[in-house]
Amino acid sequence: MAETEKRHHLVVRITHWVNALALAIMVASGLRIFNAYPAFARKGETFCCYPFAGDMIPNWLTFGGWLAGARNWHFATMWLLVVNALVYLGFIYLHGEWRDLVPRRGQVRGVWEMVRFYVGRGKTHPHQGKHNALQRLAYFSLPIVGAASVISGLAIWKPVQLAPLTWALGGFVWARYWHFLAMLGLVALTFGHVFMVFAVDPYSMRAIITGRYNPARSPERRNARPFVHLRGPRVEPSAAPAPAPPSPPPSDQPPPSKPPEGTP
């Protein structure tokens, strides 16, 4: 274990997985609620900005079984989502992890360099700290989009008791639309996140479960972009590429006994 370092605090790991569960329930039950009226227009009116009005979300993407069931799940899980988010945000504020997430000077250039590298326009992985610039952008956006979904959700939950809020979002119909868009934003961030975990840094899976991470296997050290150098540097690109092993290794984790390969 000497080669690993502590990466995620227990609180971060627990809130991460609670959030994953709560978000999945919120999105799937929300889609079931949406299916009761899969459109945005006030009755008798038209709505400018949703071309799929009337199209149901496929049942297998939904949760809750029926409208009342989905509503009960949605309105119970919202507390889990919000309380968990407050625990997480409070913790990273007090414990200092927020410093790894807030945008820094040069954030825009950093994002640009990461994108260039990922599409194959750069030879070496840009230098990074705990997270690269794209990750910082995503992890910083997530609570903001989450807050947008909570606020727009409150506005459509209580359009009369919280009428000023609903009014500020453009009325019930628009608040419902913002709520839908915020959900799409959260889903997009989640898919991007999960894709990058598997395609660039599967070793981070260990870090978010046990908390430990092997820095020798960081994407920067492996010079990894999606599906490239997943297993770490073995031979230099100038040499002949090593043939792929004939059968997949038995586990997702690299064997810990494996000696660290040449450091870049």
């Binding site: 009226y37 006030r42 598997f198 997702d252």
Partner: protein, 249 residues
């Protein structure tokens, strides 16, 4: 396997991992799909009920008598495109020959019970409000509602201070819904007999219905026959099968 969309050397080196990636992705989706489309585990029902109780406390704390519903000025009156709905197989129509003249009964924990005909109801102080309606399904619609404020009826009936709930019963099969008394006495809650300037159509709950813009549509009993002031809540047609009892907006 090589060269699908990655440079050849990269694909060769990554082919194996990509296969594992796809397998892992498919596995994750399959696990997720197992839970989807379902109502969720039965063991969660207690948690969901606890959630509903917590929500009711929050909703009642949020409730304000001076929080008003105003339909947006630029919103179009929905008119006859307003969805109509009832639980009987056909539009419920009061059968005067069989049941006598329709009367709205006001009873329960009141000192002066009443049985009002539609004519008597329309002679009481009249209120007309243009309101945005919120359905549990997620749609909204705008209509002008004409009727008598329920707190006016409650004042005339001299409701006992013990009354904490109100039940609204109908002749649409056994449809009824009970409410907290605060919502029933909200200054926009009324017994409606007119919609968009005309007497209520049978499709919309004639002769009279309860209407409050602080409740979701399903709490607003149509085809009203009886208003009962109660010390305890009395469930409701939709509340009893799983919809939220409070149903406030």
């Amino acid at each position: 396997m090589s060269g699908l969309w990655l440079p050849r050397h990269a694909a060769e080196r990554a082919g194996l991992d990509r296969r594992r990636f796809l397998a892992a992705g498919a596995g994750t989706l399959a696990v997720a799909a197992l839970g989807c489309g379902s109502e969720g585990p039965k063991s969660a029902e207690g948690l969901l009920r606890a959630g509903e109780r917590l929500n009711e406390r929050v909703e009642r704390a949020l409730f304000r008598h001076n929080a008003m519903n105003h339909a947006p000025r630029r919103a179009v009156n929905t008119g006859l495109r307003f969805p109509s709905y009832f639980v009987s197989p056909r539009v419920p129509v009061w059968n005067e020959a069989a049941r006598g003249v329709w009367r709205l009964e006001i009873g329960g924990l009141v000192r002066r019970p009443a049985r009002l005909t539609l004519g008597e109801l329309t002679e009481l102080p009249r209120t007309e409000l243009r309101l945005e309606h919120f359905c549990v399904e997620g749609w909204s619609a705008v209509a002008v509602r004409t009727g008598v404020l329920l707190h006016e009826l409650a004042r005339r009936a001299d409701v006992s201070p013990d009354a904490r709930y109100v039940d609204f019963a109908s002749f649409d099969d056994d449809y009824h819904e009970s409410w907290d008394i605060e919502s029933a006495l909200h200054p926009q809650t009324m017994i409606v007999y007119g919609q968009d300037g005309r007497m209520l159509d049978p499709a919309y709950g004639a002769p009279a219905r309860v209407y409050s813009p602080v409740k979701l549509g399903y709490k607003n009993t149509k085809y009203l026959t009886r208003i009962t002031f109660l010390a305890e809540r009395n469930g409701g047609y939709w509340s009893d099968v799983g919809y939220e009892w409070y149903g406030g907006v």
